[in-house]
Subunit: 609 residues, 2 copies
Amino acid sequence: MYFSSWLSQLYRGLSRPIRRTTQPIWGSLSRSLMLSSQRRNPEYSSFVVRTNTCGELRSSHLGQEVTLCGWIQYRRQNTFLVLRDFHGLVQVIIPQDESAASVRKILCEAPMESVVQVSGTVISRPAGQENPKMPTGEIEIKVKTAELLNACKKLPFEIKDFMKKTEALRLQYRYLDLRSFQMQYNLRLRSQMVMKMREYLCNLHGFVDIETPTLFKRTPGGAKEFLVPSREPGKFYSLPQSPQQFKQLLMVGGLDRYFQVARCYRDEGSRPDRQPEFTQIDIEMSFVDQTGIQNLIEGLLQYSWPNDKAPVVVPFPSMTFAEALATYGTDKPDTRFGMKKYLKRKDIESIRKFSADHFDQEILPVFLNTNRNWNSPVANFIMESKRPELIRLMETQEEDVVLLTAGEHNKACSLLGKLRLECADLLETRGVVLRDPTLFSFLWIVDFPLFLPKEENPRELESAHHPFTAPHPSDIHLLYTEPKKVRSQHYDLVLNGNEIGGGSIRIHNAELQRYILATLLKEDVKLLSHMLQALDYGAPPHGGIALGLDRLICLVTGSPSIRDVIAFPKSFRGHDLMSNTPDSIPPEELKPYHIQVSWPTDSRAAKTH
Amino acid sequence: MYFSSWLSQLYRGLSRPIRRTTQPIWGSLSRSLMLSSQRRNPEYSSFVVRTNTCGELRSSHLGQEVTLCGWIQYRRQNTFLVLRDFHGLVQVIIPQDESAASVRKILCEAPMESVVQVSGTVISRPAGQENPKMPTGEIEIKVKTAELLNACKKLPFEIKDFMKKTEALRLQYRYLDLRSFQMQYNLRLRSQMVMKMREYLCNLHGFVDIETPTLFKRTPGGAKEFLVPSREPGKFYSLPQSPQQFKQLLMVGGLDRYFQVARCYRDEGSRPDRQPEFTQIDIEMSFVDQTGIQNLIEGLLQYSWPNDKAPVVVPFPSMTFAEALATYGTDKPDTRFGMKKYLKRKDIESIRKFSADHFDQEILPVFLNTNRNWNSPVANFIMESKRPELIRLMETQEEDVVLLTAGEHNKACSLLGKLRLECADLLETRGVVLRDPTLFSFLWIVDFPLFLPKEENPRELESAHHPFTAPHPSDIHLLYTEPKKVRSQHYDLVLNGNEIGGGSIRIHNAELQRYILATLLKEDVKLLSHMLQALDYGAPPHGGIALGLDRLICLVTGSPSIRDVIAFPKSFRGHDLMSNTPDSIPPEELKPYHIQVSWPTDSRAAKTH
């Protein structure tokens, strides 16, 4: 019987006052530029007809003749017009004199979101009409010439951030949704963070950016891999879930330090907030140990972190898998928060119900009052004399609530871990801010088990991560006696309760790799014969890591979904709603690939379509 | 009847003395580093156990205690050992004294290509034993400790550049082939050139690096697209040949300047020196014209060009498609060479035979002697009085040979273009160097036709490039009267006779796009309804280009094949010879995708396999 008492400890964590992240408004679009211009000054108007961007004009440009290109965001009384480009908004004065009739006609008649080119002079706004909320609010443009570059039809929704749209609509008209401040900001931040990562890896630390194939062979046990039929009957490529084999083979090939912003594929059917194709920052190094990789990644994140975010503090704390499970009930704890004692008595009932409904598990609350009496149904079952000892172990204070449960270690811990998040949700609905979105709590989780019992047959083993993970040096002898107890040299990087990366030191000894694959995992070694052979031919010790770029950028930008940091994401069912993808293919186009559709019996009608 | 006389002009081109490119040797491995260290000084030994790379040690390191990791390249009389890493070679002295017996044992017994770690002191080589051909030739390592990190089994071939290997063997053991100087050099140069391109685009000119999906919808007429079955019966994704639609939609989305190092797919079956997946530098800009894109690309190539190559001279010359065809008989002329009068009489016979055999076309040579008499079978058919006029037109000089042919313009020009290259091959086998591999002749080809007659039905039209290409502004009126005569705003970039890039200004007007798709090309507009809709909603004028990265790096490095600049290329039949890809898939793994194999009747036997 196992009693878990971590919740009481967490209750005493800090909940600091939160800086509310306000919804950005169009007027502050130039923030997106600042991200880069703080470091460099890209020329945004090179090679094109415009002289300036809309968003960059300030009082320092007064008197300049400028040519701008942009979208008509807003028009008032045929007098003012607000022109928008990716960089921001600027106010344009529509000329009223008779000689400018043609210019006025163009600017007054063009529908909203039409694309125009205007030339004119930067002038001061009349005193009192400055707009301090708008970066270009001190100036306006006195137009001399205008050209309608493209007229816009009636839009399905307005390009304004405060307009609420369903996500399906946003995805169907993605090219319109991309005009929003938030999407522009997210995609530009992503581009700039990746660029800084490249500078760190390639320019500062001698990594080589190497592209690896995506048309590859299926991996043993590689369900979830998309198939690509070839022109040879019955032969298929697979789209790999990661460049794992290639990155290791590059180390065998003496490339020493590899990285790639790698496109990966995973066919998981419908899972919320997953994408069938995703991107990882993929890294491998020779002659490195776990600490080396961790230092590299801490430096990488620190170097590439956006200037407008709370800075990254290194080194990141580290915790073993066992400790994380026992303390937080998960291998990806959100360490931004402990808990505060805001739970009410009726909350406890809803928590007990939640755990009974979702996990078929009984939860026993213990309320500690000032005289440390146990106000709990469990009190009777625990000897009076043992209680002070338990209270000491649980480090409780008065007014704490302790949630106890009993059962198998992993299961009990997982439940309590989920209850902890459930409590956090509950408290946040009450207005208690526990998880500050502007805080970034990184954490390494280490010393994972090397193997897990197979779900379908718990007597057999499967790799906890993948079969190339090296065992912990202290546990190698256990491989031959108690393999279930072997810890691995795998490490996960956790940010705010999300796994954003994982990697390991790899096996470089062919015999050890063969023993694990054939004897312990009972895999078909033939599918990996090239890997085993490569290890025989002078493979250096090596290790690496992969960071999930979509998730990382999602957390950095505080986006509700990874779909908000991907230009053209698929829906949760794997569809592109804009182009109607995937789509039917005429049977004659299947012929060269020697495949035909096996229509399910109940949808035979669809075949005739 | 059309007489072509360009060959005589070309004969008078310059053939300059050539700098022979010598086969690089292992001793000069550090060249690969210089490429980057001229610009930056990456730390190659951060985060790892080694203190230095093998290749970097010089006299300036004398007396330093160093730890090195590398492969045993060579051992002599149990006294010296040459250690190799990606950076170069260094000589290690095997200690001979009794106290170092264990170190000696390790270093003397480890097979060649085993991986070792050694620690010791950098000392001077004894006077007279320096090796000036080796960058580390002034020093050697006096070893104190050594560790065998991994032993190597007997290799299928030696890791030495002068060892000739078949390409099949190189591809089967790609991880060993990657250890060669040339592959290390090629992949590192590729990484560095791409990095510089990114700096130019992203940091200097405000481009946004945006990843676009590779699981997409088939394009109209999109044969050559790999299919990816989805879990919905009869529904397929396609792997697109380029991000064409997405890059245009990004412009509609106001992203302004997009680039991506984009993975693209093309299923062409077996074509020499093509790959089923390849990489392009993909670029799109709003509010730009043809000149803008050309200036951008010239700057891009100049900025990213390796320092150890002949510099890129800008602007690049430009030539219309019509002119290129008439003058060079191709749309990708190699402008490195004209021709010199080295042809012998018997060569002419072989050229006539070549053109008869390969093109079913008669060639008439004209030899001009000192008195300008026509020594040719064609002489009798051309009036004496017309000859001076022809000689003037052809700008011939005495001792020139003119090759004449007659026929339909395109066909006659193409033949002569191929003969020009054939003559160049012929002359080069005689030792006349016409095509200096260290010279880089860039050329823009512009004013392509917008449409071509369909091969299978010449009365119908197809896009010469793709249906989004904008017509030449001067020819728009012809769209409605003589569409075959319309020139496009497409441009190709040619380097040394290879097309390395192509792009165009796109159509941004929905009506024009609809007319071209539906009326002229008779395409199924439904497949592209999202594109047409996007153009309706305020699409800015835009254009772009894509550079073929594999081909470009191949030319820059002077590699015989693009397979030499790709880490893990497929064979010309689309196979990965290392891992045996593509491979058979058990039928139960096809089930989730609702497909089955259609076995060809004559290979039914294979099914039972």
